[in-house]
Amino acid sequence: MTPLIGPHDVPYLPRGVRLQGDRVRGIRVLQAPERAMQLDQIGEAILGELDGSRSMAAIVAGLAARYQAPEEQIAGDVRDFLTGLIERRMVFVKDPT
């Protein structure tokens, strides 16, 4: 899978995409045009970091510190997860400004 995001890109949830609790099923979902995607804990942790200002590298460093995991491993997980969502147009990226 060719990545669609680099370390310095800033990922964000565009208009029309939002994290939401599903009170009936007791899960968290990512709501998007014609899609409701169930999130696991990892996905939720990653998307919770998207604030529209921090780069993917900064997000990875933060998650690695919080979960005391090797940065390279986190970087791969985050990059693949976000690439999948970028392909579905559920995450957008902007260049660092």
Binding site: L4, G16, Q20, R23, V24, Q31, E34, A36, I86
Partner: protein, 378 residues
């Protein structure tokens, strides 16, 4: 054993286990300024006087959210024909639903679109009938539709809604699919839904004018596959292929009564938008019964749940949990029996006959349409 009477059962009496619905189609009106000859509304249209009120819809949305529905697709007809559309949208958002607005773009002014933005529309789907004024206006039966739609698409972009283009393809426009993808990209769409006409209701009346050829079906598949690679990360292409030319049927609705439901303008609750073509089936109404009861307990929703009801060759087929025997409405239309294996399946005894008829229709030279109109008198 007092619960015995509440055990949901399929049409043969086999016990079934209803799941939870994710998505609901709310057809808030059948009124529409367009007259597309493949309209997915039933041939017997519901008149304005029988439509649910906005407050009725509010109650239905709350019941739907309690039942597990996450997304509502507000459609029609043209939903903009309802003057109280913004109120309907606001009720859906208040219930916690994600709101997709499915529109022709005709009859919604810029000011109303801003009102719909404030009411909470999350996402707009705009239907396009062609890539140029002549074709778009002829297929929609509405002179001037193209210009209005292009104006509408500009407002959508200016307000900032995410946009999906809905493109229905058939024999008379399939060759322009590459241009349609380009147009959708130019309009800033995040997604395009390319759906081959499904031959129910109005479209069935227009088979000879709409049925694609086998070559066109192959061409469309190729364009979609190439487009998905080329547009990766820029625009999503969802594709409903021409199933009359397929080996296996489509998994209609992801399985009858499994994840989706449809509510008509008068409150009739259907497992799919074409279900009323199964003429012997009785459907219930949100005016009479709670949505939860209809979902869990009604004969219509339970009729084809699970796999026990399936006849051969479905019963012994490993794909029965993949495509669920195909489309019940198509079985009704083509085999005269809603329980039958979907005759577009290559394992159906009727398959050869269905293919021969599709090929004969595809060879027809007519371009004349029976347009979708309400009968006179209402």
């Amino acid at each position: 054993m007092k619960d015995l009477s509440h055990q949901p059962r399929d049409l043969d009496g086999n016990p079934v286990t209803p799941g939870l619905p994710m998505a609901m189609l709310a057809e808030v009106t059948h009124r529409c300024p367009l007259a597309c000859p493949y309209c997915s509304n039933p041939v017997e249209l519901v008149r304005a006087g029988s439509e649910l009120s906005a407050d009725d819809w509010g109650r239905v949305f709350r019941e739907a959210a309690d039942l597990g529905v996450l997304q509502v697709h507000i459609s029609g007809g043209e939903p903009g024909a309802r003057r109280d559309l913004a109120q309907i949208v606001a009720h859906a958002r208040d219930a916690g639903l994600y709101v997709n607005l499915i529109t022709s773009g005709i009859g919604i002014t810029r000011a109303r679109l801003e009102e719909l933005d404030r009411a909470g529309v999350d996402h707009v789907q705009l239907s396009l009938q062609g890539i140029r004024p002549d074709m778009a206006d002829r297929i929609s039966g509405h002179p001037g539709s193209w210009d209005k739609k292009m104006g509408f698409a500009e407002w959508v972009a200016e307000i900032g809604f995410p946009l999906t283009i809905n493109a229905v393809v058939h024999r008379q426009n399939m060759e322009r699919l590459p241009d349609m993808l380009e147009l959708a990209e130019r309009l800033g769409a995040r997604r395009i839904e390319v759906a081959t006409v499904q031959f129910h209701g109005w479209a069935d009346l227009n088979r000879k004018a709409l049925m694609p050829t086998r070559e066109q079906a192959v061409f469309a598949r190729q364009i979609v596959n190439e487009g998905r690679v080329r547009l990766r990360g820029r625009m999503v292409i969802d594709y409903v292929p021409a199933d009359h030319h397929a080996v296996y049927p489509k998994a209609c609705m992801g399985g009858w009564g499994s994840t989706g439901l449809n509510i008509g303008p008068d409150g009739t609750v259907l497992p799919c938008h074409a279900a009323q073509s199964i003429t012997w089936m009785r459907f219930e109404n949100v005016r009479d019964r709670s949505l939860s009861d209809i979902w869990h307990l009604s004969d219509s929703f339970n009729a084809f749940r699970g796999t026990a009801w399936m006849p051969e060759p479905c019963q012994g087929c490993e794909r029965k949990v993949v495509d669920f025997g195909g489309c019940r409405c198509q079985a009704m239309a083509l085999a005269g029996d809603a329980r039958a294996t979907d005759p577009v399946c290559s394992k159906s005894p009727l398959h050869a006959q269905v293919v021969a008829r599709a090929e004969a229709d595809a060879d027809a030279t007519t371009t004349e349409f029976v347009y979708r109109r309400m009968n006179k008198g209402g």
